[in-house]
């Protein structure tokens, strides 16, 4: 069996070409040889040529497949392990690149998923068995472009839907629990149908659930309490079932305790029977509720949508006035409870644009890391060339570089995710007391977000690892080998890297200037800038429950409720002022220290020779005794009096008081009393004001904590407020002694005034500090981001300079030998970097100017040229420092050494 015997046939050239296309490198030649020999043998054995050709083609494809799968298996089983070890070794060997890349990717990748994860968390299924089968049902008002809350009529009509195995409704609100004993302290309550517990597959921890008989008129008043409340208010009393607790003035019997993980629908502590009946109400009226159900077995959400649409359309034809603008919607429970639009994330253009921008920024970060890796790849061009000469294919080299970058990206992403998860846990603990997040939202990382992050890490590794390596690995081995002798890999930084470095300097100068200004503004506030000491104050928000629509018979009922509201507010104000520990008390729509600018004004007669500053002012509503109550002196003009709030409730009152800061910024400190102004169209903020209305300044007070974020921007306008005009209303109480102890006392007083009205009270200083912390954190984060961007730019410059020096060692040596001066050599090696820095700083200063100029309302920008000059000087110095080390290395190159190397 010799090969010559079988080499008579001649396969089609096209097939041979196909083999060469499918199989690259040295494998092609021996495989072609084998295929040709097999073909010749088939012909020799008398096979028809057509059949032999088909067999050749089949064998060619099978051989190509065999070569690919073998190569892939070898890369996976042998190469990846080796490359991973090499990648890990490089992490330790090159700490600068590792630190910068880990910082950039470790922050960049998790940060880029913030929005996506947030949406995932908010719109996740409820944490109940088969949570994805529980759906919300509601109307969408196409005219108002808003989801419309359902009425009791809707609940009864939708009970006929066969797509749902059962239907339930829930109505959340706040109540006072045992207020007469322990003081007014709101608890989150919900009226809920008995069917809801079955829909949610809920079981009680103690006692029983609510059942349909509890919903009947005249049934005993019963309730369920949550495990958390059972622990906090009843010390986990095992005999709680059967005990009586009071909601407002009404006693209820506890029939069960719900487990801690049942907080439906909104961090709820108490559940009461749902007793609203549609029969008592006109169509569409009555208490609003969330209606939901569990999809019947085998029914999809689409089936339910079709059935609901049919029902709504039939209803619209029966009662077009009421229903023609309403569309039936079946939505996820989170969408229902958050009252959000039903469209999924990817169909909301604004979110998609934001996410695309975030991914764009991540691409910039990858580009930066790519610049660093390019410098590293360039420095290793000799190694790459030699490996190529020893038989490594280009794909093999690229795989190696990809895996090295992947190791870097995965380590960075892993650390970043760990950090993000820790941050998420901390944030959840921080926000827990405020019920800021829906109860089902768990911010800690989900498998989905970890998977996407790892996918992004792989993508980043491809962008940062493979793209920079495409050029150095493309060159012919021979050419590279020749260059190897003269220490020149032939790799170059292109225009892309210049654009990247310049754009980063621009970005970082602008953001550094803004971040630094913001931090300076935020940290300038020390508490005493507010014009009062917040440690002495307690604040309380009083909410009187709205009138139950089922109880409204005629207009007199509404009027009675309005009178009741006014009386409660007045009574609480009086009772608080009578307390011995109270120094002063005031009522208003806001609390000093917890407001921010929200409007802009037009003066009727602007002062001659003075250009009013176009800053937003705070617009606040205060009781006529506000300033007297808190002992704030009127500096000019007069205080409010009862006459200022005369007129029908809800009409704007023309008299206003402004603060010193307003007078300084809008009148240049001249007398403002008697002057008039109106609000800019679209900028009116709080109620009872008309943008066409002119307001007259009747008095001026000292500045009094209207903008704790920026004490220099605290211009404020105070509008008078009559009791009963707004609900809820806020009380500010100055206390002599321990304010914390007074919070408990305040709750007791509120409960004695009206056990039904709810009061949330707290220490003003603590709340201001939290607000201030959030404000400071924002700017610190901005500064950190700017710093990280700048670090990347500086490292890019360092990499560029190091690379330039290593590429031009021989040239520098020759120039030195020919007598070139230090300046000449510096100019040779640093020209490009200097140009990049110069252009970057110039554009950065220009952009920073625009940025600061547009941020006057948010931060105290101060002297913009000085700020920018300082920022540019710091940035420029850092750039020079980044270039200095490689340049000095260039200057130390000895002619003899350089020539010997060549």
């Amino acid at each position: 069996m010799t090969p010559d015997r079988r080499e008579g046939g001649c396969p089609p050239r096209l097939l041979r070409l196909l083999v060469r296309l499918l199989i690259r490198g040295r494998d092609a030649s021996y495989i072609l040889s084998d295929l040709d020999a097999s073909f010749a043998r088939d012909i020799e054995r008398g096979q028809k040529r057509g059949r032999a050709v088909r067999r050749y083609a089949w064998n060619a494809l099978a051989s190509a497949w065999a070569v690919w799968t073998t190569a892939l298996r070898r890369i996976v089983t042998h190469g990846i392990g080796l490359d991973t070890r090499l990648g890990l070794r490089l992490l330790v060997k090159q700490p600068l690149i590792t630190t910068v890349a880990v910082l950039a990717l470790g922050l960049g990748i998790p940060a880029s998923l913030f929005l996506l994860h947030g949406m995932d968390v908010l719109y996740s299924d409820l944490p109940v068995p088969d949570g994805d089968r529980v759906v919300g049902i509601r109307h969408y008002d196409v005219e108002l472009q808003n989801p419309s809350l359902s009425s009791v009529h809707d609940l009864e009509r939708w009970s006929d839907l066969t797509s749902l195995e059962s239907i339930g409704a829930v109505r959340p609100y706040s109540v006072n629990l045992n207020a007469e004993e322990s003081g007014a302290s709101p608890a989150r309550a919900a009226e809920i149908t008995a069917s809801s517990f079955d829909i949610l597959r809920a079981r009680p921890l103690l006692g029983r659930l609510l059942d349909p008989s509890d919903e009947r008129d005249g049934a005993p008043d019963v309730l369920l309490v949550g495990e958390e409340l059972w622990g906090a208010r009843f010390a986990r009393d095992p005999d709680i079932v059967g005990q009586s607790v009071r909601i407002g003035r009404t006693p209820f019997t506890v029939v069960g305790v719900m487990p801690a993980d049942f907080r439906f629908p909104s961090s709820t502590d108490v559940w009461l029977p749902f007793r609203a009946r549609a029969v008592d109400l006109p169509v569409g009226a009555g208490p609003r509720a969330f209606v939901f159900g569990r999809l019947a077995d085998g029914v999809s959400i689409e089936d339910a949508k079709v059935e609901l649409t049919g029902l709504t359309e039939r209803r619209a034809s029966d009662d077009s006035d009421q229903f023609e603008r309403l569309v039936g919607e079946v939505v996820g429970m989170a969408t229902l409870l958050l009252n959000e639009e039903a469209e999924p994330f990817w169909s909301r253009p604004e979110l998609v644009i934001v996410q695309a921008l975030i991914f764009g920024l991540l691409l910039v970060v990858c580009g930066n890391v790519g610049t660093l890796i390019l410098a590293r790849t360039a420095a290793r061009s000799n190694e790459i060339t030699i490996r190529t000469a020893l038989g490594a294919s280009r794909a093999r080299i690229l795989t190696q570089l990809f895996i090295e970058a992947l190791v870097l990206a995965v380590v960075a992403t892993g650390l970043g995710l760990l950090l993000a998860n820790t941050f998420a846990s901390w944030l959840m603990r921080l926000l827990a007391p405020y019920d800021f997040l829906p109860y089902w939202a768990d911010l800690t990382l989900t498998p989905r977000v970890v998977g996407i992050a790892l996918g992004l890490a792989a993508l980043s590794a491809a962008v940062a690892g493979i793209l920079p390596a495409l050029s150095p690995t493309r060159r012919a081995i021979q050419a590279n080998l020749q260059r190897t002798g003269v220490r020149s890999g032939g790799t170059r930084f292109g225009i892309g890297s210049s654009v990247l470095i310049v754009s980063q300097i621009v970005l970082s100068v602008g953001v550094l200037a803004l971040g630094a200004t913001g931090v300076r503004t935020a940290f300038a506030y020390q508490g005493d800038d507010l014009g009062f000491d917040p440690d002495r104050y307690v604040y309380a928000t009083l909410t009187v429950p709205e009138l139950d629509p089922m109880e409204v018979q005629d207009a007199s009922d509404s009027l009675a409720w309005q009178t009741h509201l006014e009386e409660i507010q007045r009574a609480l104000l009086t009772r608080l002022s009578e307390e011995q520990a109270v120094v002063g008390v005031a009522m208003g729509g806001h609390v000093p220290g917890l407001s921010s600018p929200n409007g802009d004004v037009i003066l009727e007669t602007p002062p001659a020779g003075f250009a009013p500053v176009e800053w937003d002012v705070a617009t606040l509503r205060v009781d006529v005794s506000f300033f007297a109550g808190l002992g704030r002196p009127i500096l000019a003009g007069r205080d409010f009096n009862a006459g200022d709030v005369e007129g029908p409730t809800g009409t704007p009152h023309a008299a206003v008081i402004v603060n010193e800061s307003f007078v300084r910024h809008h009148f240049g400190g001249r007398n403002a009393v008697g002057q008039r102004f109106r609000y800019e169209t679209g900028r009116t903020a709080s109620g009872a004001r008309d943008e066409e209305e002119w307001y007259e300044i009747v008095g001026v007070v000292g500045s009094f904590g209207t903008n704790p974020e920026n004490s220099a921007r605290d211009a404020a306008i105070y509008h008078p407020l009559a009791p009963g005009e707004i609900n809820p209303v806020r009380f500010t109480v100055e206390v002599a002694g321990d304010p914390e102890a007074f919070v408990t006392r305040l709750r007791q007083i509120a409960a004695s005034v009206d056990p039904v009205a709810t009061v949330s009270a707290g220490l003003l200083a603590a709340t201001i500090r939290t607000q201030s912390l959030m404000f400071r954190s924002t700017f610190l984060l901005l500064l950190a981001l700017a710093g990280a961007t700048f670090l990347l730019a500086a490292t890019g410059l360092y990499a560029l300079m190091s690379f330039t020096i290593s590429q031009r060692t021989r040239e520098i040596g020759i120039r030195s030998a020919l007598g070139a001066s230090t300046a000449d050599i510096v100019s040779t090696v640093a020209r490009r970097a200097a140009l990049q820095v110069g252009v970057g700083l110039a554009l950065g200063v220009a952009w920073g100017w625009v940025l600061l100029d547009n941020s006057r309302n948010d931060v105290e920008v101060g002297n913009i040229p000085l700020t920018l000059a300082l920022t540019a000087a710091i940035a420029g110095s850092a750039c020079v420092a980044a270039c200095a080390h490689p340049t000095l290395r260039g200057l130390r190159i000895q002619p003899t050494e350089a020539l010997r190397e060549s």
Partner: protein, 110 residues
């Protein structure tokens, strides 16, 4: 001892039979001649690659000799390959001992 599949055993025996002339086309031809089975050359390359990764065969690519010569990738059994093949063959023999006539009888009687 590593497990050897039936096709792997066929290839290893063929490499052993062909001695210095064991390359893709000749192995395929040898198996087809001896067993009457039609074999894809791709399957042979895949199996040889796997056997090589397991250290059971060694390969060497020879450049073309003379004007009409062709490049070939020749394969040879490694000591581990020989040991594993011997073990596999011994196992089959041990299991099949005295059963060939029984198999013949069963096959003929349907």
């Amino acid at each position: 001892m590593a497990y050897l599949g039936a096709f792997e055993q066929l290839i290893l025996f063929s490499v052993l039979q062909l001695k210095d002339e064991a390359y893709g086309a000749s192995i395929r031809e040898d198996i087809e001649d001896r067993t009457g089975r039609t074999v894809s050359i791709g399957a042979i390359y895949t199996t040889l690659g796997r056997l090589e990764d397991r250290g059971l065969v060694r390969s060497a690519t020879e450049e073309p000799q003379g004007r009409t010569g062709r490049p070939r990738k020749y394969y040879a059994l490694s000591p581990e390959g020989a040991r594993d093949l011997r073990e596999a063959y011994t196992s089959i023999q041990a299991m099949a001992g005295g059963l060939v006539s029984e198999l013949d009888r069963l096959a003929e009687n349907g």
